[in-house]
């Protein structure tokens, strides 16, 4: 690896800790970010000459803080870098000092930084954009690309989010246990949002949006390393890994959606699956179940099945049942119905989703699943009506194309077979 690539990776990995610590010093997101940028510029000058410091994050915090204090003292923000690398004489003693200063706050610094991004007043899209900019350090251009919007629109979104956060009261003292747990679950939800932004991409945009999934996994890993004993964070991490493991198998060459049952399981990433399974095993030992763990356990059952016929639908039905109790939602019931159709047949499954019609009257997957159940039962006219409605509600061209395939099959065969109750909304 070249020097530059190494430095780049080191700056990326040090970023959350460094920006988090700088935020604690300056209590201002813009100053913290600028201080970090300054420190990075100096690192690019100093590290190739002097070799990388033993503790890159400590170095960046120290240098960034000094630079920002200088700037503030001078009352000017735009100060050119010193000609000579004035801070190259930072020795190990100072680094050790920086480490001591920050070591005890490390966890809460990063958690606070993540937590600020998921401020409840920010709409989900702004939360995600802010986290990717501030914590992950992606450029506005990179984020705009992943969200399929213009650079200017994304710049505006992030600026607005920052302004809102600046107005909000963010507590800087170390949080108590209850407060910390609250922050942790808000942050977990935000990481899952980032992942879903990438995961819900259609085939033609999957490559562009894939980095969002990877970034979410990186953030989840960061969080899990800080909170090693939290089964729900293990569950979240496992869920992301197990879902992302299927990335290469989810779309055909034309960008069409491939359902779980039809995917080439050889394309599933076994390393990610192994890590996901290990994590869900770990989480379950705590006997403190939660929504992420249950969803991960369902994903694990799919991952463990070498072929679709091996899938333990009975267990999946039970898990969705537990999820329904924990997090009642018509979408969860809809997902459960797919498992029920495998265990007890389409009739029972259809009965289960009938009461959801009103609440899911604008939900694409409801009509896709309902149509598939009806088709299996040979009720073709009703199936066609459901599929037509699904197409009208489709969010992506891939979704619409997939339903059209069912409709074509109905036209061709006119027989009560061939359709499948799709696992929804994921594939």
């Amino acid at each position: 690896m070249t020097d530059v690539a190494w430095i780049d990776a080191a700056l990326t990995s040090a970023r959350p800790q460094a920006v988090g610590a700088l935020l604690r010093y300056f209590r201002d997101l813009d100053i913290a970010e600028e201080a970090f940028q300054n420190a990075c510029l100096r690192a690019l000058k100093s590290w190739p000459q002097n070799g990388p410091p033993r503790d890159p994050a400590g170095w960046l915090i120290m240098v960034g803080r000094n630079a920002a204090i200088d700037d503030i003292r001078r009352g000017r923000k735009q100060e050119p870098l010193p000609e000579d690398d004035a801070i190259s004489d930072l020795d190990d003693t100072e680094e050790a000092l920086a480490e001591r200063l920050d070591g005890s706050h490390y966890r809460d610094d990063i958690l606070r930084l993540l937590f600020i991004c998921c401020h409840p007043e920010l709409p989900a899209t702004q939360q995600i954009a802010l986290a990717l900019r501030i914590v992950s350090g992606l450029t506005v251009k990179q984020i705009a690309r992943a969200f399929l919007v213009s650079d200017a629109a994304m710049e505006q979104r992030i600026t607005r989010a920052k302004a809102r956060v600046a107005d909000a009261e963010v507590p800087f003292e170390a949080p108590g246990a209850a407060e910390r747990a609250g922050r942790l679950s808000a942050v977990a939800a935000m990481i899952y949002l980032i992942f879903n932004e990438g995961y819900s991409a259609s085939g033609d945009t999957a490559d562009i949006r894939n980095p969002l999934c990877e970034e979410a996994i990186r953030l989840a890993r960061l969080l899990l390393r800080l909170f090693q004993n939290e089964p729900e964070i293990m569950g979240l991490m496992a869920l992301l890994l197990l879902q992302h493991a299927r990335a290469a198998a989810r779309f055909d060459a034309d960008g069409g959606l491939i359902l779980l049952e039809d995917q080439d399981r050889n394309l599933w990433n076994q390393t990610l699956i192994a890590e996901g399974l290990a994590l869900i095993d770990k989480a379950m030992r705590h006997r403190r179940s939660g929504p992420y763990q249950i969803q991960a356990a369902i994903a694990a059952l799919h991952a463990r099945a070498a072929k679709p016929g091996d899938t333990d639908w009975k267990q999946i039905d039970l898990l969705y049942g537990a999820l329904e109790v924990m997090q009642p939602s018509p979408v969860v019931t809809l997902n459960r119905a797919v498992a029920v159709s495998k265990v007890r047949g389409s009739e029972a499954a259809l009965e289960m989703i009938e009461p959801l019609g009103e609440r899911l009257s604008n939900y694409f997957h409801f009509f896709g699943v309902r149509g598939a159940f009806l088709m299996q039962l040979g009720r073709h006219d009703e199936a066609r009506v459901a599929f037509d409605r699904a197409i009208a509600l489709a969010n992506t061209t891939a979704e619409a194309a997939h339903i059209r395939m069912h409709l074509d099959r109905l036209m061709r065969e006119g027989r009560p077979q061939g359709a499948r109750a799709d696992k929804s909304p994921a594939n």
Partner: protein, 122 residues
């Protein structure tokens, strides 16, 4: 004489490598490994999954299972096993059996991501 070479690095840093950077490193390592393989000098090579997937069994009586990697500095790494297990519970059972035979210290149980069994010549 057989030597074990134990790999240490900053996990945050390695985790920040792009797929291409990771692949490039693995490729460079493969060149060294291939040379050793041809000489019949290479035994098993393993790349472990991240420490976030690790569990530690403290060999107390009764043994205590803790999340996370082995983090004490009082004890030193003295050896390792590679065992085939269906899940963490099976791996913990093996570790408990080993622990009963040799109490004191701890075992870190960490899933293996990549294993090359190697081909040492006797």
């Amino acid at each position: 004489m057989l030597y074990a070479i134990l790999c240490y690095h900053d996990e945050d840093l390695v985790g920040s490598w792009t797929q291409e950077q990771d692949a490039a490193v693995m490729q460079k390592l493969a060149v060294v490994q291939d040379k050793l393989t041809r000489q019949g000098r290479l035994g098993p090579v393993a790349r472990l999954l991240p420490t976030t997937a690790a569990t530690t069994l403290r060999k107390e009586n009764p043994p205590v299972v803790l999340d996370g990697p082995f983090a004490e500095t009082k004890e030193q790494l003295l050896g390792f096993y590679i065992v085939d297990c269906r899940n963490l519970d099976e791996a913990l059972d093996v570790a408990r059996d080993l622990g009963a035979a040799n109490p004191g210290g701890a075992y870190e149980i960490r899933p293996v991501g990549l294993l090359n069994p190697g081909g040492l010549k006797p």
